[in-house]
């Protein structure tokens, strides 16, 4: 194990976060907090409780998960795309480092950043909305698992993208709609039966549902299914990354 290399990549990526603190941390925390102010404090008091949970509190897991997904993808995709764009990737490719170690460095840093943002959002939400966490260990487990899984997904996007536009394409055109329609702001039980069935094809539903269960003990789908779906996506992403390194896709000619 080239521990020094993993640490070098991790530190390098984290240094970029501290250098761009406003963009990396403050901006997502602030923009998510606006949802709490509008939907939690302002409108939330006039909304009916869902599954016995006040509306302001109900949307917290969904919003945290939404930010976690977008931040994980964005951090990891940019982290690997920028060296490709700048040409500095030659150094990583010529170093005595395995693909697992490269992943540990880049994905580890991206997941750490997302985790920091997620936890800060939870702390910030406390100022506007009253909420509680029934299963804190499960809540943390979901946070970590989702950060790692979607950072892996972001890593794949960062390898696949051949321009900054493509880098934004999946997060904006796919992940954001899926997160909004995946039960961030409502329970899927509120939908007509046909839409409930269609919504179950949205993988984000399982993430939000499981995460919400760790807060309030209520879920749209069984928590074991949520966990299983998240683990399945993790395995799929790992397989994708393994294939990339095996073939050298977009990394080596």
């Amino acid at each position: 194990m080239n521990f020094y290399a993993v640490r070098a990549i991790y530190k390098f990526e984290m240094a970029r976060t501290w250098r761009t603190l406003m963009q990396s941390i403050a901006s997502p925390v602030l923009s998510t907090s606006l949802y709490f102010i509008v939907f939690g404090s302002a409108i939330g008091s006039r909304m009916v409780a869902i599954d016995g949970v006040e509306y302001g509190a109900f949307i917290i897991p969904g919003l945290v998960m939404f930010t976690l997904l977008t931040q994980s993808i964005s951090n990891a995709s940019f982290g690997i795309y920028f060296p490709r764009f700048a040409g500095t990737i030659y150094e990583v490719l010529s170093a005595p480092i395995s693909f697992v170690e490269i992943l540990m460095g880049y994905v580890g840093a991206a997941a750490t950043k997302s985790l920091i943002v997620g936890l800060l959002i939870l702390v910030t939400a406390r100022f506007f909305v009253d909420y509680h966490i029934q299963h804190p260990i499960w809540m943390l487990s979901f946070l970590i698992l989702t950060s790692i899984t979607f950072s892996l997904f972001g890593f794949i996007i960062g390898i696949w993208a051949d321009g900054f536009e493509k880098l934004q394409l999946i997060p904006l055109m796919v992940v954001t709609p899926l997160a909004f329609l995946g039960g961030s702001f409502y329970s899927i039980n509120m939908l007509p039966p046909i839409w409930q069935t269609i919504t179950l094809f949205n993988p984000v539903v399982y993430l939000i549902s499981g995460f919400r269960w760790s807060f309030y003990g209520v879920a749209d789908v069984n928590v074991a299914v949520s966990l299983g779906m998240t683990a399945l996506f993790l395995v799929l992403c790992l397989a994708g990354v393994w294939w990339i390194f095996k073939t050298g896709y977009r990394l080596k000619t």
Partner: protein
């Protein structure tokens, strides 16, 4: 002695069918400065990139200090440093942090004293806290060299190291390369500046269209393939070369005022004495003479032209 780099039957065909390397066989000796010359697109960078692990080979094998660069990549890559042709740098990082990053990436523990030495040797110490984007092109090139040296490699690849740098910096780099060689580092450089290879290299390899055309000691190459010329500036211009001298490799200048005799450096009998005797016999006097030797550049151009004609 086991070569420090051994390339065997190496071929590379890119997607789309372009064959960049054709069955390359090459040994690099330990501790030498080896210059790889070739025109644009000859395959120099592809060869270096395969050895360093950036490009996958299609066929063949490369050993670095006995380690296969594919199956034993950790051992092989840890002793290799690469200065790429492009000025690819982390623009927003400081000089110190980017060089320290490279050392860690190659599996070496932190060593501030060594990084300080490398930066001082490359006149980068005063710039250590500057962001790379604030540096000139020449300084960025130095940063790339510092990064390549940060993990104390035993083999250093310099891909066009002095492209676009000023004369002073080029001289500094040459001195640095010589010092590294004295420390036992094997240096492989590609260059467009033939003068650079002529000045520094112990051995020279010429590659063209993905094939090694020749590999030899620099001195031997210049002896074998170089030509010498003796130019005689005549007292009285000639209209044509006299019949008695027609069998000698002589050429007459356009105005008839100079005769040039071309001979092989290698041959024991140059023929100069006979030519001078014949000139004397024919009553041709000269007022001055000048001798010159082929430069490496001329040899290189002839080799590349020769290989083009052979493949045409």
């Amino acid at each position: 002695m086991q070569p420090v780099i051994s390339v065997r039957n190496l071929s590379k065909v890119y997607e789309g069918g372009f064959q960049a390397l054709k069955n390359i066989n090459l040994d690099i000796h330990r501790g030498e400065i080896f210059a790889l010359l070739g025109p644009n697109g000859a395959g120099k960078t592809t060869l270096i990139s395969i050895i360093c692990g950036i490009v996958n080979p299609s066929e063949g094998q490369v050993l670095a200090d006995g380690h296969d660069v594919v199956t034993e990549y950790r051992a092989a890559r840890s002793i290799i440093g690469l200065v790429p042709q492009e000025l690819s740098t982390d623009s927003f990082e400081s000089v110190w942090s980017t060089v320290s990053f490279s050392r860690g990436l190659f599996g070496k523990p932190r060593n501030d004293a060594y990084i300080e030495k490398v930066l001082k040797d490359l006149s980068l110490w005063d710039k250590r806290n500057n962001r790379i984007m604030e540096l000139s092109g020449g300084m960025k090139r130095r940063v790339l060299i510092a990064k390549a040296l940060s993990h104390e490699p035993r083999i250093l690849f310099l891909d066009e190291p002095t492209a676009g740098v000023d004369v002073e910096l080029r001289r500094d780099m040459w001195n640095m390369v010589r010092e590294l060689r004295e420390q036992g580092v094997t240096i492989i450089l590609t260059t467009h500046y033939i003068e650079e290879a002529e000045e520094m290299a112990d051995r020279i390899g010429v590659i063209n269209k993905g094939e090694i055309v020749v590999v030899d000691e620099k001195k031997s190459l210049m002896q074998k393939l170089g030509k010498k010329q003796l130019t005689l500036y005549l007292q009285q211009p000639l209209k044509a070369i006299p019949a008695a001298l027609e069998n000698y490799p002589l050429s007459l200048s356009e105005d008839g005022s100079a005769l040039t005799f071309t001979f092989d450096v290698q041959s024991e009998e140059t023929g100069i004495a006979q030519v001078l005797r014949e000139l004397n016999k024919n009553g041709i006097d000269f007022r001055d003479l000048h001798s010159s030797e082929s430069s490496l550049e001329e040899i290189f151009v002839n080799l590349v032209r020769g290989s083009r004609e052979a493949t045409a």
